[in-house]
Symmetry: C2
Subunit: 605 residues, 2 copies
């Protein structure tokens, strides 16, 4: 069997923290620094990091997907958000790193009260955005200190077995899947640059580079990125800075003559050579070091959004078709899995890890799985109430009868990325469980069926998903929908459906998740997640065409948890229609036993 | 009979524009200026202006409630928003002032393309906020010109019969209505200043000054303001700068020893004397001139929100009780009016002006009306589709059978401010009218009944009011809810329920309007407006207390326009309960004939 995409080992060991922290402090002293900021990021500001960029985890032993640390001479703090307040205490040595709130305080809130006057605080300008450095600088100046950019990262100097940067091959992403030639994308981008009076744009997000040049790789877990920088020019040409080990003749042919392929080291030289040029850079996603170098070089910096983000988010017909196919394939795998689960879970002996491993196996059996799209959240009972639970060998437990089981998982297929959550009842649900589940379902349906005019942002729709919970004095502390890439990152911008005022309007072709939930701490967790595509504006018989959502995830919703009397006729109608569609589309693709399970699971109520 | 609060004369005369514009241009030339910006504002940035501050109307003859003009040597432009695109063309001389879009373009969008290089553009720093001047300055610099603050307004120099500033008496606002002594308000404000490290705050909004010192006046139409500046200090004392003609012994006794009353001219001297002091000023509401003077004086300016805005918006129990009483009184007046209207409109001879005048009469008959809270919008048929229609002698027309009549009006009573819109069918409604009205009603009910957690902003609730329209391909181009003052401005901040991301969370005691609508151009307009109060967080049996809204407007909603089959049981239940409440509360307060009408108008459906 192939190496599994997801592993369950506990990589964290608080005992390593003391010596590593001491080594870093010695290195800082050698450099004349009084402290250092350690973010969770790489040069591309990605969510998933390659092993060599896991500096925060190496130093603190904390393995969460977001966080930061500040190390001073006599104290150190680690900042995590609400998802990780418990986890950080088991993973790091809290006598060395004081856990603090990343959102309410963050390094910029902590520094003014803790950095000694006159102190020099170091930071790696390749690991912070321009906006991030602005906030850090303000905080350091409040403390009467100085923020100092380091030439090389001091952690790398003391990290003895530092892994090498990834060198997986960069491969062309086929035109029938991408839907548009890279050249056409670059010419459109070039038009935008000319209109904005810019001569070039620095593209720093790995998914933007991969989208623009129609390439994919395996440099980070779960997301088919090639890690590379690019510069797009107003004549439609581009420079791609990528490790020679990742190149192949096939890749070079694919890129063609108007993409100049260079070594990664040439990127800084290219920035240094942009004197007098008008260059677009995104201050909220590009490393501060890029601004520093362009500034020194005498380039005219134009701050603006990464020009790949919006066209990448608005999927073209080929990408949408690919996503639909990927979801049908994934729906069949999940139907087989859920039928297996029903047959095997009742005995009360399945563990969370077995449940996740088996799901990966059913997806592998499709023959085209290239990765899972994130570490499966496989949480039984109270573990389901931990919003970003990730099972490890030490937290693993059996799924017991009369418990809910929350399963949030996804796949990377070359034609599309999936992300689906189902909450399954093992045994008998209590009235409370059914009430809560049905409220979450009502919210899910409210969002799935909404119509809205041009210019509407996600924040304006988010409350539809929450209202049935609000009416019972309940809510959930996460967003309702994130953008999803097309065989790219399972979390992508610029759109967002949440309580946050993300001002990007929803546009046709954007793919979002629809995932309201409810979590009763210590008891159970509920989430119902489908992916939805923003539809073209449609004439509804009024004066203004309205957009809406097409649901593309096709997996039964557990009827054992639905309290039918709480549904309106329209809601029941939606559920029955959805299940009929799941049965019609998925039924022909599965074996007889699964088919029998599917017929029951998708029955009209 | 007393002088009516609302007048219907056409004050606009395009023939005056040419000579006034010529006079202004001559004055500008004398001062060495190449142009001048004319906003619609006074020194307090209020919505309603005293006559001497109506400089935009004097110059351009345009009388809308928002707008601006820019006068250059050889051209001039007037900027209005979507409400006024038709009106401006009838009111001004468009051969002299080119009408432009205030929102999409505005002076800051127009100046870069039209101001000659090297030109000096004047502005009156007392009539623009600090934020406004920032935008103007950026635009002028783009054009290669210079923005110049004038010492005195050049329009005043050529306005031959310039009215004097208003001098109505400033009167104490009784404690039983205000609910809190001014001293207590000032001490709380002072605590906030101390916490923010500020020694004083400059209070420039007239309603903030009136709220803080518990005073009222009649300096502007329809809003019981005294126009005055104040400075609040961190020791709880205050300086009030108010015209001697407005003072009375009663006022001075009311203000007490810790409010130093000074002449308006002393205000600038007080700013000039703040060297080294840390002073809070609101850059989005305070005149730029105040920043200029404080800067020159060497004060430490702290930019922040006007510290009266939030406590003013969160009404205390006495204010809420007063608002409830005012709405019961107003509801009785409206019931009498609507009964009269039903008896008299069918003949098809009532005019829009008669309808508005009669309504003012019924409100006057309460004996405690101190003003209408804005010019009544009295629009029949297609006039109802003009969102901010204001009837004048030239637009006045009869309300014909089988037309809808839209009536948006309000009252200023000493215990509270009202604002209510009802749409009334004269004769038979078409199926389309009933469908549209019922959708607006469904949206109104959806907002009236929503529950929401702490931290929710209006934008998150706005879509509930629109969804029933969106589902039919319809929408409305105005906000759903504005804040309402307590015997103060009928439009107040900082909260807002609309598509705009106004980030102020809704807090208990805030009063908002709930006014979805629908407008079919050339045919009819629908709006249903009640005022709603944010309730205290309440335990709904879940984990988080939830706020909601209490509806305080008590006026029947026209059942002739309700298509009952479009309502859910819950919506019908809300309407019947609301009408039962209107009948119970208002019924005992009206004459027998009105009572009979009310019984019919509030019958259960």
């Amino acid at each position: 069997m192939d190496k599994p995409f997801q592993t369950y080992d506990d990589t964290s060991n608080p005992a390593t923290v003391a010596s590593r922290l001491a080594a870093l402090r010695a290195e800082l002293a050698k450099r004349g620094l009084d402290g250092f900021v350690v973010p969770h990021s790489d040069q591309h500001m990605g969510e998933y990091l390659p092993p060599h960029a896991e500096r925060l985890a190496w130093l603190t032993s904390f393995t969460g997907s977001a966080g930061a640390a500040v190390v001073l001479k006599d104290k150190a703090a680690i900042f995590v958000d609400g998802r990780y307040t418990l986890q950080v205490r088991t993973q790091t040595d809290t006598s060395l790193f004081e856990p603090r709130d990343l959102v309410a305080e963050g390094p910029q809130g902590w520094i003014p009260d803790n950095l000694p006057k006159g102190a020099k605080l170091g930071y790696d300008p390749w690991l912070h955005t321009q906006h991030g450095v602005m906030h850090l600088k303000a905080a350091v100046e409040k403390a009467g200190g100085t923020l100092v950019a380091v030439e090389s990262n001091p952690i790398d100097a003391v990290w003895t077995d530092h892994p090498a940067p990834p060198q997986t091959p960069a491969k062309p992403h086929a035109l029938n899947l991408a839907g548009q030639q890279s050249e056409a994308k670059r010419l459109t981008l070039a038009d935008g640059l000319k209109k904005a009076g810019a001569e070039a744009a620095v593209i720093t997000l790995a998914d933007s580079v991969c989208w623009l040049l129609n390439i994919r790789g395996h440099d980070v877990p779960h997301t088919p990125f090639t890690l590379a920088f690019a510069i797009a020019h107003a004549d439609g040409s581009a420079d791609l800075f990528v490790d020679p080990a990742k190149r192949s003749p096939e890749l070079l042919t694919h890129l063609g003559n108007s993409v100049r392929v260079q070594d990664p080291g040439a990127f800084t030289a290219a920035l240094d050579g942009m004197k007098g040029k008008s260059v677009l850079v995104d201050p909220s996603t590009a490393a501060s070091a890029i601004f520093d170098r362009l500034g020194k070089a005498g380039a005219k910096i134009r701050q603006g959004s990464d020009p790949c983000q919006l066209p990448k988010a608005c999927k073209n017909p080929a990408e949408i078709e690919g996503m639909r196919k990927a979801h049908i394939r994934d729906g069949a795998a999940l139907a087989r899995y859920l039928a297996w689960f029903e047959a095997n879970a009742a005995a009360g002996e399945l563990t969370e890890i077995q449940a996740a491993e088996t799901l990966e196996g059913f997806r592998r059996a499709t023959g085209v799985l290239s990765d899972v799209s994130f570490d499966t959240i496989s949480g039984a009972g109270s573990n389901g109430a931990i919003v970003h639970y990730r099972v490890t060998r030490s937290t693993n437990r059996t799924i017991r009868p009369n418990e809910m089981f929350l399963l949030d998982s996804g796949a990377q297929y070359p034609d599309g990325t999936t992300d689906v959550t189902r909450t399954i009842m093992v045994g008998e649900a209590t009235a409370e469980m059914r009430d809560r589940f049905t409220r979450v379902l009502k919210g899910h349906i409210a969002l799935a069926t909404v119509r809205f005019p041009d210019g509407t942002i996600g924040m304006q729709l988010d409350s539809f998903a929450r209202r049935p919970l609000w009416e019972a004095g309940l809510d959930y502390d996460h967003g309702t929908g994130h953008g999803v890439g097309s065989y790219l990152s399972v979390h992508e911008g610029p759109q967002n459906i949440s309580k946050r005022p993300v001002m990007q309007a929803l546009k046709p072709g954007m793919i979002c998740s629809n995932e309201p939930g409810f979590y009763k701490a210590g008891a159970f967790g509920i989430r119902i997640e489908n992916l939805i595509v923003v539809t073209e504006p449609e004439d509804l018989g009024g004066e203004r065409p309205m957009m809406g959502f097409e649901t593309i995830t096709l997996v039964p919703i557990d009827l054992n948890l639905v309290e039918s009397s709480l549904l309106t006729d329209a809601e029941r109608g939606w559920l029955n229609l959805y299940h009929a569609r799941v049965g019609d589309v998925i039924g022909p693709l599965v074996d007889d036993d699964t088919r029998k399970w599917l017929d029951r699971a998708t029955r009209a109520i």
